[in-house]
């Protein structure tokens, strides 16, 4: 049990890589950076294989271990009145579901790391790129290995952060920085929903541990359609729509293509964006008790699948087509979860990881060959120039289009069958999925033909440097191409994959489900979906290969419908007008309010105080002081005559005395003369 006991090493290994690169990477040579940052994920993959082997040998389906208590909260009273104490540990859980995710993340992650050696070899910030990629693997592994919702949330936010870093990897470019910020903020809206779901779980169950919540949910104490559980599921699903790019929060993913192509392959196709599917599947015990939430999941999934596929029909940027295709395929996965076919959803997560990583890396190889060109209107005829890329790309396209024999066929067909036949399913859901399959085949073959078939529309300057990619890039393509073929046979002809996951998804309702449709129905539907895929293929061939004059037609002004699709239904503009600008205006309004009213009140109080001070001063100076002054002045005036004679000069006094004496003497002499 050596591997399982130290399962914490799996996330730790890439974390060490990230630490090395981000702290000391600048001083390392590119070679050393590659050895550390590709070697450690490789080791993690090996360790994961060891864990997987040991898990198969365990009698129980689940292995649990925890390191230490991370976050304690409480005690508090639950809704039902009992007391609870939340102790969230740094704990790991390996069961069939997380094992599948673990192998996808480490396996595909490792392959894409190898590819990046070639792809990023000539880019600046090589160490920074690998530091972020390693950090991403760490966060993603925390997400899938967590044994509780809060730690999952930690990984969830961590992958969002790394996505932010990597989308904005070329941060000098404004569009890249914008796209990174958009991704993080749109994700955060979803995260707020997730967080509230976590809160509601806490106050309902008193724990965040998956195992305990699942047991409580399956214990039968919650009725089917329980309001609280429905609220929890809807909140969790809001989180999932953010991370897994579903309506209405899908807008960030196409913009995320600003990042380097290996990032698009690993994060925005194979692993991170499937985290929402994983989370819903992980919460399956709750979802099956909330049929309304299930319907919401299925409806949003189906709608997103169709919506994104329709936008993908007309895009000209090779990576954007793939981005919308990812959104669309994620819709399929949610459709599966929504109709209760969690295993089918996870199966599609796996096959999609193979063929979508392959397609993105193939697109990367094309872009690499063309020196950075991403516009398919400037490609064409590349099949002879880069044959290995072409061959693997064909495999990927066949797989995603659902052509029998390739991995995507098995998983997509399972989803469509379940959408039709499951007790949660509906024919309309099946129909949307079926129609989307046709669109998928069309836009993927359109991409293939525009890129590789026909005449070359490549600029002369670029054509001159055209070259096949190095083996570090082609090797991963070949590996993924093989997986894109054999991946499907894991679940065929016997349902090995489904049985393996059964302990996670066992549900009392499944057993009770009535088998409405038989094997013939399944075969009939299969024929229909193959037919629609071939129709899409044929139509693409007709337009982009058979009919001449492609170059001219591409230059023509597009029609109205085309225009709407090309502008992605103007959703970005709508969101800008509705939310972004409103929020900014509100912020400005409040800032003005703060300055004018709140602070204005404070300043007014200050002014009032000062003014009353001024008034007092005026009163003092002119009234009170005035009175005193008037009094003083009066006395001064009155005393003036008196003061004049009081000179203090003795001679004057003597003079006046003498004068007085003289006056008296004169008077006497005049009147009393004898």
């Amino acid at each position: 049990m050596a591997f399982l006991r130290h399962i914490w090493l799996i996330p730790l290994l890439p974390a060490l890589g990230a630490l090395t690169q981000l702290l000391a990477g600048r001083r390392l040579s590119n070679r050393a950076v590659s050895i550390v940052s590709v070697g450690l994920p490789g080791l993690a993959f090996l360790w994961a294989l060891g864990c997987f082997a040991e898990l198969l040998k365990l009698a129980a389906p689940t292995y649990l271990t925890n390191l230490y208590t991370w976050l304690p909260a409480g005690p508090f009273r639950l809704a039902n009145g009992s007391l609870a104490q939340l102790n969230v540990p740094v704990g790991f859980q390996l069961d069939p579901l997380s094992a599948v995710m673990l192998l996808i993340v480490t396996g595909v992650g490792f392959v894409i790391h190898v590819y990046s050696i070639g792809y990023m070899g000539h880019e600046g910030g090589y160490y920074r790129f690998f530091g972020y990629m390693n950090l991403f693997l760490f966060s993603m592994l925390i997400l899938v290995l967590a044994d509780n919702y809060l730690m999952m949330f930690a990984g969830w936010e961590g992958v969002g952060l790394c996505s932010y870093f990597l989308i904005g990897f070329y941060f000098q470019r404004k569009s890249a920085a914008d796209a990174g910020k958009k991704a993080f903020i749109v994700n955060r809206i979803g995260d707020a929903g997730f967080l509230l779901g976590v809160m509601l779980i806490t106050v309902t169950f008193g724990t965040l541990n998956f195992q305990q919540i699942t047991e409580a949910a399956r214990s039968g104490q919650f009725a089917l359609g329980n309001g609280t559980l429905t609220a929890i599921c809807v909140l969790l699903f809001v989180g999932a729509t953010g991370k897994s790019a579903q309506i209405p929060l899908y807008v960030w993913l196409p913009d995320a293509m600003e990042g380097p192509t290996p990032v698009s392959a690993l994060i925005h196709a194979a692993t991170m964006v499937t985290a929402g599917v994983y989370m819903v599947a992980r919460s399956n015990a709750l979802f099956v008790l909330a049929p309304k939430a299930m319907l919401l999941v299925a409806a949003i999934g189906a709608a997103t699948a169709l919506w994104a596929a329709s936008i993908g029909l007309v895009q000209n940027d090779i990576k954007r087509v793939l981005a919308y295709s990812t959104v669309s395929q994620l819709g399929y996965m949610f459709l599966a979860c929504g109709v209760g076919a969690f295993a089918a959803g996870i199966f599609h997560v796996m096959t999609h990881a193979f063929f979508k990583a392959l397609l993105f890396l193939g697109a990367g190889s094309v872009i690499h060959a063309l020196g950075g060109e991403q516009d398919m209107r400037k490609m064409g005829g590349l099949r002879r120039k880069i044959p290995i890329t072409f061959a693997t790309f064909v495999v990927g396209t066949l797989a995603i289009s659902g052509i029998p024999g390739f991995a995507g066929f098995f998983s997509k067909d399972e989803i469509l069958w379940q959408a039709f036949s499951s007790p949660y399913g509906h024919r309309l859901l099946w129909f949307i999925g079926w129609a989307t399959a046709g669109l998928t085949a069309f836009y993927m073959f359109r991409l293939l033909f525009m890129t590789f078939a026909g005449e070359s529309r490549v600029d002369a300057e670029v054509a001159h440097h055209l070259h096949e990619s190095p083996w570090t890039m082609l090797g991963p393509l070949v590996v993924l191409a093989v997986l894109s073929v054999v991946g499907g046979y894991i679940n065929w002809p016997t349902e090995r994959f489904g049985h393996f996951l059964e302990p996670v998804f066992e549900s009392p309702f499944r057993a009770a489900g009535v088998q409405l449709y038989g094997r013939n129905d399944e075969l009939g539907l299969m024929v229909l979906s193959v037919a629609v895929a071939l129709a899409g293929l044929g139509y693409a061939w007709l337009i982009y290969v058979k009919r001449p004059g492609l170059r001219e037609r591409l230059a023509e002004p597009p029609g109205i419908l085309h225009q709407i699709l090309l502008n992605k239904y103007y959703v970005d503009e709508l969101y800008d007008a509705l939310f972004v600008n409103r929020a900014k205006n509100l912020g400005n309004l409040l800032a003005a309010f703060d300055l004018a009213v709140v602070d204005g009140g404070v300043n007014a109080a200050g002014w009032l105080t000062r003014t009353s001070g001024d008034l007092s001063r005026f009163w003092d100076k002119w009234v009170i002081d005035g009175l005193v002054n008037v009094l003083g002045f009066g006395i001064k005036v009155l005393s003036y005559p008196v003061r004049v004679i009081q000179t203090g000069v003795v001679q004057t006094y003597a003079f006046f005395i003498a004068l007085g004496v003289a006056i008296f003497l004169g008077y006497y002499l005049v009147h009393f003369r004898p």
Binding site: T65, P72, R188, M199, A216
Partner: protein, 577 residues
């Protein structure tokens, strides 16, 4: 009686005295004396933190001497978990603030450091004083150095800001002084524990109506300090105009005095009134969160942006306090520390940009990551901590607060969660405009990246941010006892009855014994055998891990199969930490 707290409080003042005797031209010597003093104080504070007894009820390290005979004022010091954390925060930020001013303060160096050290004494005093008179003395004494720090070393509108700051605070102080005098008149004592005993006794000397008025008087004084919406407008001005060290101390410590006061005085002294006013205050706190975030979003000035983000963050703290449950309270106190570290770091970083460019306008920057990669990386790290990224400190506090608020009233939690989204918006948008994109202004092309001193400051802060996010237990556990005591007053008979140390509590040995049988299979609720608990948290987790390892695989295999009825599972969880 030991003199640990006296030494902690007055050590900076001793340093200030030494500084006073150094000639004003010997600036290097002055700086070093101030720095060393604050570092020694920090070491002393860490010692206090480690020596703090987790299970001891009430105050610790008490010093109590009569000081004035009539009115009977005592020199009464003591700390509980709340004080210990805030003291640690204070003594941690002080040396960093001094270090951050190493180059930017060039004038009146002697006065600056004198005042900084005096300020530290004042702040420490506020957190240790247990006598209302003494508390008020420290509270007022601390304002004076701050006034001068803003007024002398501040920016353009420093006089306006300093006067506004002092008047605003004084208004609150006056109300508090009246309330203190009223309390003295009613109880005949100024010592907090004695007043508390009288008020919680069978015949409280204050009528409910009187208590309401006293609550309001105290609360207004503290709410201004916090600042709670709509009393916040002194804060942007004071923060923007203050020098770096002033902003750090203002945001880091002074704002916390408001929330400290609420926890120390308002809640325990007037529990009835607290409950009555809680809805209004919670609504104001939520408004503060959203309002502060939205206003922060559109600020053109970096410092003002950070200042308004403080309004939002402190809104979280107040919301947590008035959730009246252990999660909310512990989260609030934790968030007080987080905000001190993260926002302090943000102010230091903005100060570093200001040192280089002499502007704080966001529009002047852009693309700085190419020129200043190290500074940009630190800035991003702190920004992430401020927006509550899990595994960094901010998340722990915000999660606990939102959980507490959600538990009290789901709507509060939902609105607070919106604040989390807005935090990402304003912080990342700011980061993008300052650090990402192309370098637009020629003036930004030749800036020097972080010096060794700056790296030292930022590394220390980053380490604390990460440590508090990954392993919050040592801090949270020190709060259990204090939070339980506050809750016992505010919510008698409710949650408080369960918390650590109380006789009916969940850690009662017999209870652990009875519950252990049902919980053994769930490792994350692993119960602790009695004697092991004594060893403390570190051993505890190590032991549970070892136990797990020994038990594997037989025990672990059973996990999936063990039925754990939800009624029992939570109770088993009482084996906290």
């Amino acid at each position: 009686m030991s003199h640990i707290l006296t030494i902690l409080t007055f050590l900076p003042l001793v340093g200030a005295t030494v500084v006073a005797f150094i000639p004003r031209t010997a600036t290097a010597k002055i700086r070093w004396v101030a720095l060393v003093t604050s570092l020694v104080t920090l070491a002393w504070g860490i010692g206090l933190f480690l020596g703090f007894d987790l299970h001891h009820p009430g105050l610790q390290f008490v010093e109590n001497y009569p000081w004035i005979e009539s009115p009977p004022v005592a020199y009464h010091l003591g700390v509980d978990g709340l004080s210990v954390l805030l003291l640690l925060l204070t003594v941690f930020l002080a040396p960093l603030a001094i270090l951050a001013s190493w180059r930017s303060i060039g004038e009146r160096v002697k006065e600056f450091h004198l005042l900084m050290l005096a300020l530290e004494t004042g702040m420490n005093g506020v957190f240790v004083a247990q006598d209302l008179f003494l508390f008020f003395v420290f509270w007022e004494a601390m304002l004076i150095p701050m006034y001068f720090l803003i007024g002398i070393w501040g920016h353009e509108r420093r006089i306006y800001a300093a006067v506004k700051f002092i008047l605003y605070t004084m208004l609150g102080s006056a109300l508090m002084l009246v309330a203190i005098l009223y309390l003295y008149n009613a109880t005949g004592t100024l010592e907090l524990p004695a007043i508390l005993a009288q008020l919680s006794g069978p015949a409280p000397p204050i009528s409910p109506k009187g208590a309401r008025w006293l609550f309001l008087a105290f609360f207004l004084a503290f709410a201004i300090k916090v600042p709670l919406f709509p009393l916040h407008t002194w804060l942007p001005d004071a923060h923007v105009e203050a020098p770096v060290a002033g902003s750090v101390i203002l945001a880091g410590v002074l704002l916390k005095m408001g929330t400290y006061g609420i926890l120390r005085f308002c809640l325990p002294l007037f529990p009835e009134a607290s409950r009555q006013f809680a809805p209004v205050i919670s609504v104001l706190a939520v408004i503060g969160i959203l309002y502060g975030s939205l206003v922060s979003m559109v600020q053109p000035d970096l410092k003002k942006l950070v200042a308004y983000s403080s309004v939002a963050h402190l809104g979280f703290v107040v919301l947590g306090i008035f959730a009246f449950n252990p999660m909310g309270l512990e989260g609030a106190i934790y968030q007080m520390c987080n905000h001190g570290v993260s926002t302090g770091a943000l102010f230091i970083l903005v100060g570093m940009l200001y040192d280089r460019r002499h502007t704080r306008l966001i529009s002047e920057f852009g693309g700085l990551s190419s020129v200043l990669p190290v500074l940009g990386a630190f800035f991003l790290f702190v920004t992430l901590s401020s927006l509550g990224l899990p595994m960094l400190n901010g998340f722990v506090g915000e999660f606990l607060i939102i959980l507490g608020a959600f538990h009290r009233r789901a709507l509060y939690g939902a609105l607070a969660a919106t604040g989390v989204v807005l935090a990402a918006v304003y912080l990342l948008w700011m980061y993008q405009r300052v650090f990402l994109g192309e370098v637009r202004s020629e003036k930004n092309r030749a800036l020097a990246d972080c010096s060794g001193r700056e790296k030292l400051i930022l590394t220390a802060m980053a380490a604390v941010i990460l440590g508090m996010g990954v392993y919050p237990q040592p801090f949270l556990r020190r709060l259990d006892q204090s939070v339980a005591e506050v809750l016992a007053r505010v919510q008698p008979g409710e949650e408080a009855a369960l918390v650590f140390g109380s006789p009916k509590g969940w850690n009662d040995a017999s209870r652990v014994a009875t519950s252990s049988a049902t919980t053994f299979h769930a490792p994350w609720l692993l119960p602790l055998p009695g004697p092991e608990r004594e060893r403390g948290p570190l051993d505890l987790t190590r032991d549970s891990r070892r136990e797990l390892r020994d038990a594997a695989p037989a025990e672990l295999k059973g996990i999936a199969g063990v039925a754990c009825t939800p009624g029992e599972a939570p109770r088993a969880g009482m084996n906290r930490r």
